[in-house]
Amino acid sequence: MRLSVLFLFVGGIFPNFQVDKTESTISYVGNHPFHEWQGISSQIEIETDCHAKRDDCNATITVPLISFISGNDNRDSNMLFYVDGFSFPVVKISFSHVNISNLLSIEESTYIAGEIDFHGYKIIQEIPLFIASDKNTISIRSNFSIQLNSFDIKRPSLLMIPIKNEIKINVNISGRFIQ
């Protein structure tokens, strides 16, 4: 009896969503008066119990900061320096009490409260989510912005001009639940 409870407990919170890393990306877009750039990562991990509990489930998206590539290794290293990548190596977005059945039935983005854990700060923000299902594949799309000063991140500068405070985030994830 105790063993079966332990099995159920373990089964309930084991990550069971496999991200298709060839089709999935999370990117950020930074802006400087001289140019705009994009850092892209495919190293996305999702932990969720939404397969088992479709009316009230939780999900956490985790991405290692070192996996973001903007095409300029100096800029990527500088980014890691400014966000203190040693102390806070990952960025997480968590959603709680999500009605996944409801989201799948809506054919447009829905705003859901998400907690962004970045640079040691946890901030709750309304994040637009569009979730669709096609056979076994789940697609998640989102576009939102964050403010660097909200996470106490000093703005990097180039030629003594700092970048803009607003960073746009684009989420494009495909995956499937693992049985």
Binding site: G71, F81, V90
Partner: protein
């Protein structure tokens, strides 16, 4: 039966612990030094680099990255100053009408050389980045162009010295050819430095 149950429980708990093990941030130097470091950086900042052997390196990698940040910010400022000084040198060099112009060109030339080498030093000697990506990028173009303007800059003071006739003798005259070379190398050096500056403006 009880032994089997105990073993199964132990395996499950062990698996559970491994899957939910906390990620530790106790990095060692080997973890954080980038894999494909340039040779110049490896010689100074590699695991057995000069800075570490002479105990000149900061105590940890985080402090190294802070130092790198400060050095590269200084490199940017000195680089801009060098560009301005060199631009004026190019103008002076093509408008030398009097002895005073020549004296100013010589003195400013040595100053520009000093500022340039200081700027280069801040970049070359800075600690390595956290990672170096493969492929061509604007920062790599910036680096490749530096090979051109560095070579040019090394030769300019000597070519200038020859252009002034300091090595001319009654049997051998160098200043005419040296002056031509000084002009051409100066133009190439200034052009490559300007392009180097422009590469940091592109994404």
């Amino acid at each position: 039966m009880q032994v089997q149950l105990t073993i199964k429980a132990f395996l499950i708990i062990t698996l559970f612990s491994i899957c939910f093990a906390k990620f530790t941030s106790s990095y060692t130097l080997s973890d954080t030094l980038p894999v494909n470091m340039q040779l110049s950086k490896k010689l100074v900042w590699g695991e057995n680099g000069l800075a570490r052997k002479l105990n000149l390196a900061p105590v940890n990698r985080v402090d190294e990255l802070k130092l790198r940040h400060k050095m590269l910010q200084t490199h940017q400022k000195l680089g801009l100053l060098t560009l301005g000084m060199m631009g004026y040198q190019v103008y002076l060099g093509s408008n030398m009408n009097s002895r005073n112009d020549k004296v100013l060109h010589r003195k400013l030339g040595y100053s520009t050389f000093g500022v340039y080498m200081t700027a280069a030093g801040f970049s070359v000697l800075s600690p390595p980045a956290l990672k170096y990506n493969k492929g061509v990028s604007s920062i790599k173009l910036h680096r490749y162009l530096s090979y051109i303007h560095f070579a040019g800059m090394l030769s300019m003071p000597y070519l200038g010295y020859l252009s002034a006739g300091n090595m001319d003798t009654s049997s051998a005259e160098y200043h005419t050819k040296a002056l031509n070379a000084h002009r051409i190398v100066g133009t190439i050096t200034f052009t490559s430095l300007s392009l180097s500056f422009l590469t940091i403006l592109i994404p």
